[in-house]
């Protein structure tokens, strides 16, 4: 071992180590530091005993407190769910008017619906129901399958072209792909559809072609979309009179839809949500701004 010696200037012992003539003073650690250091060691040992700490081959030491974060979280989730259960139960029996009349229930419905929407629906329909090409905007007042609370809930429950036995089904033929109409006829029909829709202001239809297209329309399209193009919600046929297009509103996109007859799939959510959550989801979508009053409105409760 190296030689420890006394340093002249400070009167302290050196460690005896020497590097190129530099020697190190054997300065003691501050007492407070030592106390904290030993206290930390003691605390660590106590922690090992109390809490889960050491990995074993196929598990770990559990600790005498039997602490488990996983179990605690599960218990908290359980507690939260049972705390919310009464509100969900009330929600499951409430109408749109009934929810609107009860501020507490309304707030709960929107909060619960927003949360469920964000986790499950926003991927396709966009946060806030802004929609995307092929995925309907939910915030507007255009509804393919109906916009009352009951309609919306039914759509969420059974889905569209889903595997649910009661799924909402509609199928637009692919007039071009399947050769049902010639490209010229499709072009004429496109001009006609533009001419009856509000898009006529910006797309300036070829009126001669539109006149020819009217015959094609009445023969092929009117059975579902209606003689005047108003659509039919009972069979999921969109209105053609407005300027809102599920698959895009340019001339080429309208034409492509007649050619291809695209129709998206929305899954059924019945198996995933309980009745209360379904109602909250429907209410949230209803309240995005385009919700329609109940078909048979609940008479307003007379005061007292």
């Amino acid at each position: 071992m190296a030689n420890s010696e006394r340093d002249e200037a400070t009167g302290m012992q050196t460690t005896g180590h020497e590097w190129d003539g530099l020697r190190e003073l054997d300065t003691p650690l501050p007492r407070w530091w030592l106390i904290v250091f030993y206290a930390s060691i003691v605390a660590a040992v106590i922690y090992w005993v109390l809490m889960p700490a050491w990995p074993l081959g196929n598990g770990y030491t559990r600790g005498v407190l039997n602490w488990s974060d996983r179990r605690n979280v599960a218990a908290e989730v359980q507690a939260l769910q049972s705390a919310r259960a009464p509100m969900f139960a009330r929600l499951a029996d409430a109408s749109a008017a009934g929810i609107a009349a009860d501020p507490e229930l309304q707030q709960f419905a929107i909060a619960a619906g927003q949360s469920a929407f964000g986790d499950n629906c926003a991927t396709c329909h966009g946060a806030g129901g802004g929609g995307a090409p092929g995925f309907p905007v939910l915030a507007d007042n255009v509804w393919i399958w109906g916009g009352t609370l009951a309609d919306i809930e039914q759509t969420i429950r059974v889905g569209i072209r889903s595997s649910h036995p009661d799924a909402r089904l509609s199928q637009m033929p692919a007039f071009g792909r399947d050769g049902l109409l010639s490209p010229r006829q499709i072009g004429d029909a496109t001009e006609y559809v533009i001419s009856i829709s509000m898009a006529r202001a910006r797309l300036t239809p070829d009126m001669a072609a539109a006149a020819r297209g009217a015959a094609v329309y009445q023969e092929q399209c009117a059975s579902c979309h209606g003689v005047e193009g108003a659509g039919d919600r009972r069979i999921g046929a969109p209105s053609l009179k407005d300027d809102l297009w599920l698959y895009g509103g340019s001339r080429a996109e309208i034409r492509r839809q007649i050619e291809q007859g695209r129709g998206g799939v929305m899954p059924s959510w019945e198996a995933r949500f309980d009745a209360g959550t379904l109602r909250s989801l429907a209410y949230y979508v209803h309240e995005m701004g385009g919700g329609e009053p109940d078909a048979t409105p609940t008479p307003p409760t007379p005061p007292q």
Partner: protein
């Protein structure tokens, strides 16, 4: 390490005490164990001032939570209350909401300038008289003195072998200290809940866990900081001694030993001439009374809290030996210099620095008072939904959605009518309502009422951002408030 014969100031025969400045920088070697300081009781102007300050400050701290202030039904009647659960701060007639914390920021700035100003004028008066560390340490030392006696007795007790009487005294002292500490922690939590209810709950074991935790924490810190840490808090832990060097200048008053009068110092026997020597008789009374364990004659130093107890001690001695008082006094560097040059003492309290601090404080205080006087208890916050940015409707009109927060800080519910203006054809309405016009709601008292409404603009609106304004009017009181917002319309599909 000087052992000095003292003149008799106590009337007792034990005149020899070992008064050394154990906490001065030189005496405080890095690895040396801390030496216990046993401050002697001083008598005089500044001791009385400290008693008064202690009484007033402790009274404010302990009594404030018990003051009542009627705010009407269902609202807390505690004059000063920080209600975390209800997110309110009550201070007599003022009720602040969380978004108004800038008042606290203003108060903190005011406090900072206050301490700057007091430092520039009188040195560390905050440290010496008002700092909680000083107040509670002083109280603890007083308890210690009451049970164990003054400096000499305490030092003798320290050296004495363990005995029943020594154990009894120590036990009594620590019990009293702990009681004071617990009362300190107890009073703290009263600021955060209804004091009488909490008082009952604490003793019946029904108070919340955080309440007990905070009582425990403050009991612990009070006991440790005022009982055993004492001057070490000021010397090692507190940042202020470091900062204050920048706050004082040559004209700032601080507790100063006047070497021009005192030196050369030395013991003096009765009847001896004062010719050719200083007034300091080196009795070390200034060291004996110092709670910080320093010798003021070493000059201004970081450890000194400017409590001026040494001034009292020295004045008492000077009167005894028949010399003028004020050998240690509130004095400035400038005066030390002036006297060296043979000029008299002069005080300059009005200096650019103090005028600036004073002006800034006045300005901030005026700004706070103005803000408080003109703050409205009725506000409308509007948050435009940005997802989707706008909604195109079947008939070609465009809709934007807004969340309205009607803030009603008054104690009464308001009937509020919300209107939109500034955009041609804009119609404000709730979901499913086709009509337009003002939307009337009830805004609950002392709370925020949130609702989501839509603005629909007829077809033909230009693409881009349009300004619009929402106005909320109280239908019964007639006061109104508003909020500017925007309406966004997109290009055609």
């Amino acid at each position: 390490m000087s052992k000095t014969t003292l003149i008799d100031t106590t009337g007792r025969d034990d005149l020899s005490i070992d008064a050394s400045a154990v906490n001065s920088k030189e005496a405080r070697a890095l690895y040396k164990k801390r030496a216990q300081i046993h401050p002697k009781l001083a008598h005089g102007t500044f001791r009385n001032l400290k008693w008064a300050a202690m009484a007033v400050l402790l009274a404010i701290y302990y009594i404030t939570p018990w003051l009542r202030w009627d705010r009407g039904d269902g609202r807390p009647d505690q004059a000063v209350l920080i209600d975390f659960e209800g997110r309110r701060f009550y201070f007599f007639f003022i009720e602040l909401w969380p978004q108004e914390v800038y008042f606290f920021a203003g108060l903190l700035i005011l406090a900072a300038f206050g301490i700057f100003l007091s430092s520039a004028l009188f040195g560390r008066v905050w440290c010496g008289y008002a700092c909680p560390q000083t107040v509670w340490t002083d109280l603890y030392i007083h308890v210690e003195r009451w049970i164990e006696g003054d400096r000499n007795e305490r030092m003798r007790l320290e050296k004495a072998p363990m005995s029943a009487s020594k154990v009894g005294k120590k036990l009594a002292k620590h019990t009293l200290w702990l009681l004071i500490a617990a009362a300190t922690g107890g009073a703290w939590v009263f600021y955060f809940g209804d004091a009488p209810t909490l008082f009952h709950d604490i003793f019946s074991g029904q108070a919340s866990t955080p309440a007990y935790l905070f009582i425990g924490l403050l009991t612990f810190t009070t006991y440790i900081l005022a009982g055993s840490m004492r001057e070490q808090v000021c010397t090692y832990m507190c940042p202020w001694p470091r900062i204050q060097a920048a706050m004082i200048d040559k004209d700032a008053l601080s507790v100063t030993y006047r070497p021009d009068r005192g030196e050369p110092r030395g013991p003096h026997k009765k009847g001896e001439s004062w010719e050719g020597r200083g007034d300091c008789i080196d009795c070390r009374q200034c060291v004996a009374v110092c709670p910080q364990g320093i010798d003021i004659r070493d000059g201004d130093q970081l450890e000194c809290i400017n409590c001026a107890l040494c001034v009292d001690a020295c004045d008492e001695v000077m009167r005894k030996v028949g010399r003028p008082t004020g050998l240690i006094a509130y004095d400035s560097y400038a005066n030390l210099e002036r006297r060296k040059q043979g000029r008299g003492t002069s005080y300059r309290l009005l200096r650019p620095r103090t005028i600036l601090y004073g002006t800034l404080m006045t300005a901030i205080a005026a700004l706070l008072a103005y803000g408080l006087a003109t703050r409205s208890d009725f506000e409308l916050n509007v948050i435009r939904d940005r997802s989707p940015p706008y909604v195109r409707l079947a008939d070609g009109s465009v809709r934007n959605d807004y969340v309205f927060k009607v803030i009603n800080m008054s104690a009464l519910e308001r009937r509020v009518s919300i209107e939109v203006s500034g955009l041609q054809g804009a119609r404000l309405h709730a979901t499913g309502i086709t009509g337009g016009g003002p939307v009337v709601i009830g805004a609950r008292a002392d709370g925020v009422t949130t609702l989501r409404l839509h603005v629909t603009v007829p077809p033909g609106i230009e693409a881009g951002t349009h300004a619009l304004r929402f106005t909320a009017r109280d239908l019964s009181r007639g006061d109104e408030t508003g909020s500017a917002s925007a309406f966004l319309a997109g290009a055609n599909p």
